[in-house]
């Protein structure tokens, strides 16, 4: 019998209290309600009483994994309430050596899909790594047309494609929300923050946005866990996934099936090679 939202919410609160009681955990990262019914916000429960503020409903859309980067050298563990995508984000951070597994206490919660367009394409509702699991595993679905958006967009003519992206990058206000929300963007100091080195200007005009947009695709393209946070957080609603998915599709076609953030993920595609890779530059 499947648990109801409230039951899971209570179980989460119990687990959070147990974790805090154990003394090993500094805070439990979850969601709490805001003054708006259809919005929850990320929340660090640090005391017993605050655990009762943790909520679990279809509006818990924010990613919780990347908050582990706030304190890269913690004394105590950080408990993270992880849905399927969050656990993949945690795998991503661990595989990029930015977070140590022993610094995390993961409370896995199978996710029933949130108020977020990406959730209907989700192939990993159940958390992949966790210390304790709350509720029951839900049935996974295979998203057959994972690259439908890319295939449709590829049919356009080059000029149409360029104009589309040019308009999108005209809209971009260069606020870096997509970078700060993305678990694959986990550098201590992003190349874009060192604009003195000449890579990337600070202006939000089309030219600098194009450099930033394409560079980010290349930086995260082979490690993107398709959690959709970049599109959710963008204030100007740019279709960022449409770019990174293109890279993932190419990697799938050229170098074999590829999904990131999985427990056995090997080195990122651009960081390794196979002798029998396809070659078109002869």
């Amino acid at each position: 019998m499947a648990y109801t939202k409230e039951q899971i919410q209570d179980m989460i609160r119990q687990e959070a209290k147990k974790a805090l009681a154990s003394g090993e955990v500094s805070a439990v990262v979850g969601w709490t309600s805001t003054r708006f019914a259809d919005k929850t916000k990320p929340f660090f429960a640090e005391t017993e009483a605050e655990c009762d503020l943790l909520v679990w409903n279809e509006y818990c859309v924010n990613g919780t994994a990347k908050y582990a980067l706030d304190d890269r050298y913690p004394e105590k563990k950080l408990a993270v309430i992880a849905r399927g995508c969050d656990s993949r984000a945690i795998n991503r951070l661990i595989q990029d050596k930015q977070v140590k597994r022993e610094n995390l206490y993961i409370i896995g919660v199978p996710c029933d899909g949130k108020d977020n367009p990406i959730c209907k394409e989700c192939q990993h509702k159940n958390p992949l790594t966790f210390d304790v699991l709350v509720g029951e595993e839900v049935e996974e679905q295979i998203n057959a047309d994972r690259f439908a958006e890319v295939l449709a967009f590829e049919k356009l003519t080059p000029d149409e494609r360029y104009d589309y992206w040019a308009k999108q990058y005209d809209k971009c206000i260069h606020c870096y929300a997509c970078r700060n929300a993305c678990p694959a963007c986990n550098c201590i100091e992003c190349y874009a923050d060192q604009y003195r080195t000449g890579w990337q200007g600070k202006a939000a005009d089309r030219e600098q946005n194009q450099v930033y947009g394409l560079t980010r695709v290349f930086h995260v393209g082979d490690r993107c866990i398709e959690c959709g946070e970049c599109e959710r957080v963008c204030p100007m609603d740019l279709p960022i996934m449409r770019q990174t998915r293109k890279m993932l599709k190419d990697i799938n076609d050229l170098f074999g099936d590829y999904e990131c953030g999985m427990p056995n993920d090997s080195k990122p595609v651009l960081g390794e090679y196979k002798l029998e890779d396809p070659d078109e530059f002869m």
Binding site: Q210, Q243, L254, L270
Partner: protein
């Protein structure tokens, strides 16, 4: 956009050549007095794997009409495994640029070894002919134009 605007417009093509193979091949082409068009400018890099995708975007923005990345054949890279990474990186880069509207002929990569002088010449002739046919590159070109100071705000 390149220097002259009239009909005998000459494309500007930037070629990243790996020092041990393609650059040597290009020198050999010179030694043998082979002839090829003037619109390729070579940047010497130690290995084709030194070329960062951001250089390519920068090149198009600064007015290159075509970019060429050349290196040793996989297997005989001077640094053993450098060009395996180049191969993966620029196969993905080529498709990404095409996806963003840049004509695939404008960005090409080729394996040219130190002894394939003729192949270097033929590649240059072929690439500059293709790009001359395509005309000046208008995509990704930087909005900065010294003569017209673009007005701020919404234009």
């Amino acid at each position: 956009m390149s220097v002259k605007k009239d009909n005998n417009w000459e494309p500007v093509i930037l070629a990243f050549c790996c020092n041990w193979c393609t650059y040597t091949g290009a020198d050999l082409a010179g030694l043998n007095r082979m002839k090829y068009p003037e619109n390729v400018r070579v940047i010497r890099v130690p290995c084709s794997s030194r070329v960062n995708p951001q250089f390519i975007i920068r090149a198009f923005q600064k007015g290159a009409d075509g970019v060429l990345v050349c290196g040793c054949h996989p297997g005989d890279c001077h640094y053993a495994t450098g060009n395996y990474y180049t191969r993966r990186r620029f196969m993905l880069m080529k498709r990404l640029l095409e996806y963003n509207g840049i004509d695939p002929k404008r960005f090409q990569a080729k394996w040219i070894s130190g002894s394939e002088a003729a192949k270097f010449r033929d590649t240059v002739i072929q690439v500059s002919a293709e790009i001359k046919a395509l005309g000046p590159n208008t995509k990704f070109v930087g909005t900065y134009a010294p003569q017209t100071a673009t007005e701020g705000g919404q234009e």
